[in-house]
């Protein structure tokens, strides 16, 4: 790995844990079963049994029952199913929805699509630390409000929302509550027996499971009505059709079990890596840490550097792979709407780097990241005009 890329982008996606890899291989090979779990023959029943075990493993990670989970292709689909599903099922009751400006694209764009269909969406802004103020939520809820969707851990900043309090408020006011927990499931303890959450989205590739499989938790309450967004066979309680991908589900189950077992240890490791990195760069001038550390998941460190352009910063960081505050698409030139919602201007948002840490992250990798970050910031500031973006402001 000495000359290869150093991956510090675990918030984007995680490699399958070696133990999950093993399970995936077994599942794809002779001891597994590829048959359609809906088939009534012996091979199908074996697949169904494997799917049931995996469903229980994911349910246990969240302290819920396996029947509450609907397999999807990932969190994007789970978010779409939750939000479109509630909106469509409860359309006759009212067309007001609430979410935040700092949600993931798959939530923001889904609500935006509903806006085009005539729904009213209230977009709440976080305070400067990235958190939702309960008061602003309370004021936004109206009699015709059907759903509040607020993510658990933000994918760019790591900011953790208090989903317990948000959920309590929603229950009091008789509004459904969805949370996109793509960044927190398998990373932070989540107890769905305790949390007043109606719908929760997750995706296995954020906790060392395979890509292409996720789930939506649907609480067992009469109010939680969902319409499917896709139609077909009767799989997944008629909420999500399609042949269940057995090996992916088995892999997700294995990943969930490992995550449950090692959560505490993983969190300590994340904290150590993050603090090491921050200690190594924080003496640079004009850095801004995005997201108030005390409210942040320790696996993510997001830093803006005044006077540095995002794409160049990414190149300077090589071979360290990190995420940028400029859009995924280098040429769109769009800067992070999440960071702008936290009060960063365009240039500061664009200059942001998201470091994110994983189980395999080593101190040596972090040290390389420190070196590369320091070099890049100093190098680019050396090239930049005296007053950054002067012409633009």
């Amino acid at each position: 790995m000495s000359n290869g890329p150093i991956y510090l982008d675990y918030a984007a996606t995680t490699p399958p844990d070696p133990r999950v890899l093993h399970v995936l291989q077994d599942s794809l090979g002779q001891t597994g079963s590829f048959a359609n779990p809906s088939s009534i023959h012996a091979a199908g029943r074996q697949s169904a049994a494997m799917v049931a075990i995996a469903r229980t493993q994911v349910a246990e990670l969240l302290n819920t029952r396996q029947e509450r989970l609907i397999w999807t292709s990932g969190a994007t689909e789970a978010n779409n199913l939750a939000i479109q599903g509630v909106a469509n099922a409860r359309e006759h009751r009212g067309k007001h929805l609430i979410s935040m400006a700092t949600e993931h694209k798959s939530v923001v764009d889904t609500f935006a699509a509903l806006e085009k269909r005539g729904y009213k969406v209230t977009w709440l802004k976080p305070d400067g630390s990235g958190r939702l103020l309960l008061d602003s939520l309370s004021q936004a809820i109206r009699p015709e409000t059907q759903l509040v969707s607020v993510m658990h851990v933000n994918n760019e900043t790591g900011v953790i929302q208090d989903i317990h309090k948000i959920g309590m408020l929603c229950r009091e006011r008789d509004v459904l509550f969805h949370t996109d927990a793509a960044q927190s499931v398998g990373r932070l303890a989540i107890d769905l027996a305790e949390l007043p959450v109606d719908l929760l989205s997750l995706t296995a590739h954020k906790f060392y499971g395979p890509q292409g499989i996720g789930a939506l938790f649907v609480a067992d309450r009469p109010a939680v009505q969902l319409s499917p967004i896709m139609f077909g066979g009767g799989q997944e309680r008629r909420l999500r059709p399609g042949t269940l991908p057995v090996h992916l589900i088995v892999g997700a189950g294995a990943a969930a079990r490992i995550a449950a077992d090692e959560m505490h240890e993983n969190l300590s490791h994340m904290t150590a890596m993050r603090d090491r990195l921050w200690n190594g760069i924080s003496d640079l001038d004009d850095l801004i840490r995005n997201g108030l550390p005390v409210h942040c998941y320790p696996g993510i460190l997001n830093v803006s550097a005044d006077g540095v352009e995002g794409e160049s910063l990414m190149l300077g960081m090589e071979p360290v792979c990190v995420a940028s505050g400029s859009a995924c698409n280098a040429t769109s030139g769009e800067s992070s709407y999440v960071l702008r919602a936290l009060g960063r201007d365009d240039l500061l948002a664009q200059s942001a780097v998201r470091f994110s840490f994983g189980r395999p992250t080593t101190a040596a990798e972090v040290d390389t990241a420190i070196d590369r970050y320091r070099w890049s910031v100093e190098h680019l500031r050396g090239i930049a005009p005296a007053k950054t973006g002067l012409l633009l402001k």
Binding site: G307, V308, E309, E311, S312, L315, G316, A330, T331, G333, S335, D346, L347, Q350, L380, G382, I383, A384, P385, A386, T388, G389, L390, L391, L392
Partner: protein, 135 residues
């Protein structure tokens, strides 16, 4: 496995060691500065030239820009330094884009650089008219 690396070797070399980045080092009879910025992309590029006897003795740039634009500015400065001021009249957008394998979506950024060069040349010709005879 071939990677679709967005940066060719020239871009990487210019980015890594942009020898012409910074401010003019020497003192010149004539020195000119020009800059251009785009509001949508947030890119800024500033050029400065030191001129003696109709020659570009030194050429420098500063940029808040993506690697392609940094490389284009660096290449420009390296190319023009030591040549006649006339060379500021020409800027081959397509040639630069080809040499640096700049994706077509970034054409606007190279045009920024062209704007800055053009501005330098215009300032220079104005200057020549004012203190005619020096040019």
């Amino acid at each position: 496995m071939t990677l679709t690396d967005p940066y060719n070797d020239t871009v990487r070399a210019c980015f890594e060691k942009p020898g012409h980045a910074g401010d003019l080092q020497g003192e010149y009879a004539q020195s000119l500065e020009a800059s251009a910025a785009s509001s949508d992309q947030g890119m800024t590029v500033a050029l400065s030239v030191g001129i003696s006897d109709g020659m570009i003795v030194e050429m420098r740039f500063r940029a808040w820009a993506c690697p392609h634009l940094i490389a284009a500015a660096q290449m420009l400065c390296a190319d023009r330094q030591g040549r006649l001021t006339d060379s500021l009249q020409q800027f081959d957008v397509n040639g630069v884009m080809q040499q640096l394998s700049i994706p077509v979506e970034k054409t606007g950024r190279v045009l920024l650089l062209e704007d800055a060069v053009t501005s330098l040349w215009q300032q220079y010709t104005k200057l020549c008219k004012t203190d005619s005879g020096t040019g």
